[in-house]
Every structure is written in C-alpha cells, then in structure tokens.
Symmetry: C2
Subunit: 248 residues, 2 copies
C-alpha cells in the first residue's frame, strides 16, 4: 500500500493536543476523520513525528499514512485541505518509500518558543506567545544556553511522568533572538523529551530574571532531577517548527 | 462626577460584537462587569465611539465612563487590566472634560482590513484576515478607491437594515497596500455607516477580480442602492484602528 508523508501546520489553541483522546478534539482525530471520509469510512491510522501538548502549535509537523487511494500528491493535499477544519492545513504531500516512518526516522527537530515582552499584554498574542513583561538579562540566558548545547542526560529537563528510559539527547543549537517586542528561542537537536523545550525555556527565563545563575546550569544537568530545573513554560508559546529526515 | 476616556484593544474572535446583547459575550458587557467590580456592584455604563460586529477587532477603540472613584489614570489602567479577560486590554486612560463624548465627538476614524492572499490558508490567520487566494488587479482597485474618496452619499455601501437617515460621509483616504502575502486596506474618514468598510472592501475585491470595473464605481455610488455594490467582506478581517478627537 503506498505511503504518504505530509507536512502540516496547526494552531494548537482549540486542540487538546495532537494525540487522540476519548471525547476530546485533537489534531490526530481531525486528520483521521478527514482520511476516513476519503476511504468510505475505513479507519486510516496517522503517525506523527511526535505528539504536541494542548495549546502547542506546529508550523512543520510531519505525519505519514498508508492508503490504497492512488491520488497524485497534489490532489491529496487539495482533498485533505477541503475536508480539514481551518486550524489545520496540509502544506505538502509526497509519496514516500514503504519504510519511511514519521516517528522513527527524524534526524533532527527544530522547536521555537515565543515570549512576548511588552509591558501590556497583547490580546492578539494571548494564544501565540507567553507574556513575560519582566526584565531579562539576555547575555546570562545565552551563557546558560551554551551549557545546554551538546550531548547530555536531560533527565532534569523532562517531565517526571514519562516512561522513556534513555534521556540522553543532543542539542545542536540554541538561539535566543529579539524580534521586536518578542524574544524567540530556537532549539535544534536530535530529539526532545516530554516537556523538554518548555522546561528549558522556563529555566532560561529564571536565569534571565536572576533567580538562577548561568553557571548553575552544569549542576542542574548533573543532578538528573526535575526539581533542579525551572518551571515548565506555558504550551501556547511553543511551536514545532520543522522535522528533519535523511535525504531520500 | 469625573469622566474617563480609555483607549482599548480587543481580539473580536470570541465576542458577539461590541454592544451588550442578552446571553451573549460582548466587549461592552465585559467592560461593564470589570467596572462593576470596582464600584461594589453598582452598574457603570460604558459608551464607545461606535459598536463593532461579531469577529471584528479593535486596535484603538475609544470608550468613556463616569466614576466617583478618584483613582489616578494609571491605576485605572492597572485595575481594569487585572479584571478584564485577556482578549481585551486597556492601552491608555485619561481623565477628560465632562463634555467629552466617545461617540459624538470623533472627528475621524481609521479602519484597516486585512486580506490574506497566500494560496494555502494559514491556520494562524483564520480569525485575523480574510483568506482570498485569487488574482487581484491592484491598479484597478486603487483606481476604484479613488472614486470613493471624498464626500458622497454612501447608501449603496450601507447595510440596508439601518435606521440612520443621513448617509453622507467623507472618506479622506483609502490606501491599498501589500504587506508580505497580505493586502491591507486603510480607510480614513469622518465616520462610517453600518457595514460600510466591509462593503467597500467587498466591492473593491470585485473590481480586483474583474467582476466590476473601476469606472463602475461612480454609478454604484449614484444608484444609492445596496444591491449596486459588492458583497459584505467577512468581519474577521476588519480592525477599528484609531479614533480621532479634537485636541483638548
């Protein structure tokens, strides 16, 4: 059965997250409902690069599914966009090899996190950035970030209710960039643990506001204890930006 | 009793419009609820420069109210922002003369309308711009706009279910500007009739797409008939941008 890879974008505001949950509106259930309509009601399972939490957005989530419908990629895109609700859009579709796997094949992921720093909250940003109107020492935050780059055991930066055993991950790059009144964090790495980006952001904000020192970070990593790191930043500032796969 | 003028901004998405309606969530009812809390439950009436429809946004709506609470303007702002829901924000407060009137005093208003032209709809813009992915002749639209500038009877551009008798208004300026993938219309005039900006935009889009000619516009105006103009563009692309009052 031909396999299709889709790049999708969604506004996470009105979803209880990516993954199917009973009685909840999720991205996966909307995708599977649209595909069901294209397959006479037959269930078509969708596999994503990873789940996203409630309120978390995606600019470049990747999914795959198998289908006997022999449609050109462009028609898949049009048909799905016609059936999907307006907070999800399919940006691209391509037929891929049978062994392509959205979840197991990624060689890298980029997440971005947006913090709105203006003194007054902006009604138009309330679902799209974390409003944090306090002074921040960006240099200290960048120094702290430099300790996080590399291959580390990120247990301190992982939600404690996770079943993943190996918590070693590699972060290739962390960028902390001012964009107008916003601060945009860019994280590029091999993969990220549950809540990891949000805990990284929460911890960097504690460094920026003076609650932690940049030089505390090696110790926070070494402790392998969730309590050592900072708070989990809210989901609505987070964007799954891009998922990288090996060249075909 | 001292009178206060506030400049407010709101995301219109989750409101049934500005004006109080039974059982509906409106901007006015949220403002009056917040003021009620600051006056031990006593109702404080809020008067706006004009109402906005469901889904219509405001970057610079102006309201006034009277209060015996002798707070400095800055404290009014802080207190209201602490009590208001996050889709409304008070940008500024000042005490004004007793004869200041948000609705009767404006000498000009600016509205903007945002059209998103990218081929694919953007989930993040679905409440903030009208998605119109079809070719547009901007020069024809600008020529058409030039016929609308000036003092005219705008009956053709007014929702027919209105009680206003005098439909003569003056438009000082209409700008049609490309901003990335968007087209932003800027309307600056003495005042606007019910649905007028949305009908102006709908008509200019019909000129842009070739359904009407720019040179039809003088006839559309002259007919004084709502049927002569184009469709009413959707509310969610519209922003009440600024309201101008005489210098104190």
């Amino acid at each position: 059965m031909p396999r299709y890879k889709c790049i999708i974008s969604y506004d996470g505001t009105a979803f209880a997250g990516y993954q199917v949950q009973p009685e909840k509106r999720t991205v996966q259930s909307e995708l599977e409902a649209a595909l069901g309509k294209m397959h006479k009601g037959t269930h078509v399972k969708v596999t994503a690069s990873g789940r996203t939490d409630a309120g978390v957005h995606a600019k470049g989530q990747v999914i795959h599914f198998d289908s006997t419908n022999a449609l050109p990629a462009e028609n898949w895109q049009k048909a799905l966009n016609a059936l999907l609700p307006h907070d999800i859009v399919v940006l691209a579709v391509e037929q891929v090899a049978d062994d392509f796997h959205a979840r197991f094949n990624p060689i890298g992921k980029e997440y971005r996190y947006r913090v709105e720093r203006s003194p007054l909250r902006d009604p138009f940003q309330r679902h799209y950035a974390y409003h944090y109107p306090y002074p921040l020492d960006l240099e200290a935050m960048r120094e702290a970030a430099s300790y996080l780059v590399g291959t580390h055991d990120f247990t301190s930066f992982c939600a404690s209710n996770t079943s993943v055993v190996d918590k070693v991950r590699t972060i290739h790059e962390i960028e902390v960039k001012e964009q107008g009144d916003s601060l945009v964090f860019r994280f590029f790495g091999t993969g990220f643990l549950y809540n990891m980006v949000r805990i990284l952001v929460g911890t960097l904000l504690e460094v920026g506001s003076g609650k932690k020192k940049a030089t505390d970070l090696p110790h926070v990593l070494a402790k392998c204890d969730r309590q050592a790191a900072g708070k989990t930043a809210p989901g609505h500032g987070l964007y799954l930006w891009e998922v990288y796969y090996p060249e075909n």
